[in-house]
Amino acid sequence: MKFYYFHLMPYIMDHDAPSSWVTLSNRHYDPGLGHTLYNQYLDQFEHAERLGWDGLCVNEHHQNCYGTMPSPNVMAAMLVRRTTRAKIAILGNGLPLRDNPLRVAEEIAMLDVVSGGRVISGFVRGISAEYFSTAINPTHSRARFYEAAELILRAWTEEGPFPFDGRFYRYPYVNPWPRPLQKPHPPVWCPSQGSTETVEWAAKRRFPYLMVFTPIKRIAQIYGEYREACERYGYQASRYQLTVNVPVVVAESDAKARELAQKHVMWVFNVGLRMHPPFWRPPGYMTEASLRRLLANPPTLPSELTFEEAERDGYLIYGSPATVRDKLRIFADELQAGILCTAMNGGSHERTLELMQLFAEEVMPHFREDAHVDETAGVGR
């Protein structure tokens, strides 16, 4: 199994506002504290590479305390020059949120060339709330996503210049300099929440599918749908197309880990993902079929998730190194996930570094039968 270190770069705080997204006033943001946090978080990423993590994951979110990376490419740019080995996974750029998606093609190519071909390019629609922050019409989300992805892939793979004339994006000259280093292009990942349409789209193109903060049962179901779709497209999914993102807390003992998980991981769900209800469901963001599936089996709102549910359903993993090893077997052996993205938070920078080291020394080595494999070979393109 491959291990990727994932960070939201949260601005951890308590507040009584109804939403941590879109409307939580930025007067709460203290840039002085932000300076410290950003630099600690970047140090953690660099530390992760030294400890043996295979990849480092950044991501895009807007106007919230949950994750302060409105531009993942800016953070990736800082990492490519401070690391030498790890993949830099941008999970991802919110394509429909861009009025000029060619900029994504350009920036990813820049990062790929500078990093010597270590970049993984996630394509996402952006979660529901981003449509309130960016004012992009959510009824265009899916169509803009497909069109921008097509444009970017063509810009990376076809010799320019060529004209592009889409419904949303039109260019007389598509001819970005630089071109990406990896051939035919950097691997593309699809972080998603399991909509049938996206599963199909990713499977058809061999783009790895990443499930973020999802109960294990649902991961198993979506992986099943993804594998089936791959077979329909005439191939067997590699395990490196099945990626999972789950927060892990490993400590000296189960009790110690439980305490840290309860305190720090639950913040992500209970506060970080607290959202004014309309922000969860911008009109037209989902197809009506997806909406009906959701309504038939409504998931617990993250803000109402209890620690017991989170533990039971596998929203998070905690324990001593031995316990965490056991729990990870479910992902590695039963779900056959090839890549595990994990965020870690020990409550302070120093404690987080300790947890990372414990995980790297006591957990990772037990899952390294594929150490010689390049997880990006033949997938994502």
């Binding site: 309130f132 992009i136 209800p277 911008p282 009109p283 909406l291 009906r292």
Partner: protein, 262 residues
């Protein structure tokens, strides 16, 4: 009880309520108003032949993927008039429906015996930004739209079933297609209002918080040549729901004096 009709308008299926005898009156509903035959319509049907279609994607009308812009809806209603064989109609639109009606009037005033706009949105008004309705939950919407929240009960959903929630989502999406950004207006419309040649009545709730009388109502009154402005003292954004009798009487009185519909 009005008759329910299913029509196909140049290939787009729609659901329409219809009742009454007399000059033709086409009513264009606002968001959430599809298929709600209420005292306002009942009263108008005593004097007019009232046509009350649901916009595509609203109420009983299925979503239409070809609708991308408010002018698509305006052309759709010119098609509706053609399909009904109505040469000239009194056109009455409320809120979002008022926006569509105004677009229609800028295109084809000659098809209108008169135009009544009830608290329309649709133009950019200096000094006003429409509150972002898509970001509001139901209680916030009720307080924003209604001066008398009890009047909102008439629009309350019958239940919380998957069918009802899916309908609400579909209606929200149909509205968002044309009204998310710019929110609730067409940047080109205000300049074009000067083209409206149909006699125009503006009905406005004194307590409208979506599009307040000042500056919104006053702007419309300035931009449409010869428009009359009638204010409803006990209404917010929806006088036809909050003061249905007074609003219906104002419409009837205005339209009766301006015949030629049929």
């Amino acid at each position: 009880m009005p008759a329910a009709r299913e029509l196909s308008i140049r290939g787009t299926p729609i659901h329409m309520l219809q009742e009454g005898r007399g000059p033709a009156l086409l009513f264009l509903h606002g968001a959430g108003g599809a298929g709600r035959w209420l005292p306002f319509q009942e009263r108008l049907a005593k004097t007019f032949s009232v046509y009350f279609p649901s916009h595509p994607g609203h109420g009983g009308s299925p979503a239409a993927e070809w609708i991308e812009h408010i002018s698509d809806l305006a052309f759709h209603y010119l098609d509706v008039l053609d399909a009904l064989g109505v040469e000239r109609a009194h056109l009455v639109g409320a809120s979002f429906g008022g926006w569509i009606a105004a677009e229609v009037a800028t295109m084809a005033s000659h098809r209108l015996a008169s135009l009544v706009l009830i608290d329309p949105v649709g133009i950019r008004v200096d000094g006003w930004i429409y509150p972002f309705l898509f970001g509001m939950d139901i209680p916030e919407i009720v307080t924003t739209v209604f001066h008398n929240p009890m009047a909102a009960l008439a629009l309350a959903p019958p239940d919380q079933s998957i069918e009802t929630l899916a309908l609400q989502y579909r209606q929200g999406a149909a509205l968002a297609r044309v009204a998310w950004n710019p929110h609730l207006y067409d940047p080109l419309l205000r300049r074009r209002l000067g083209r409206i040649a149909a006699p125009t009545l503006l009905c406005w709730g004194a307590h409208d918080k979506v599009a307040p009388l000042a500056p919104c109502g006053e702007t419309w009154a300035r931009e449409i040549p010869g428009a009359r402005l009638r204010v409803f003292a006990d209404s917010g954004h929806v006088p036809h729901l909050e003061e249905p009798d007074a609003a219906a009487d104002a419409v009837s009185e205005f339209c009766r004096l301006r015949g030629g519909a049929g």
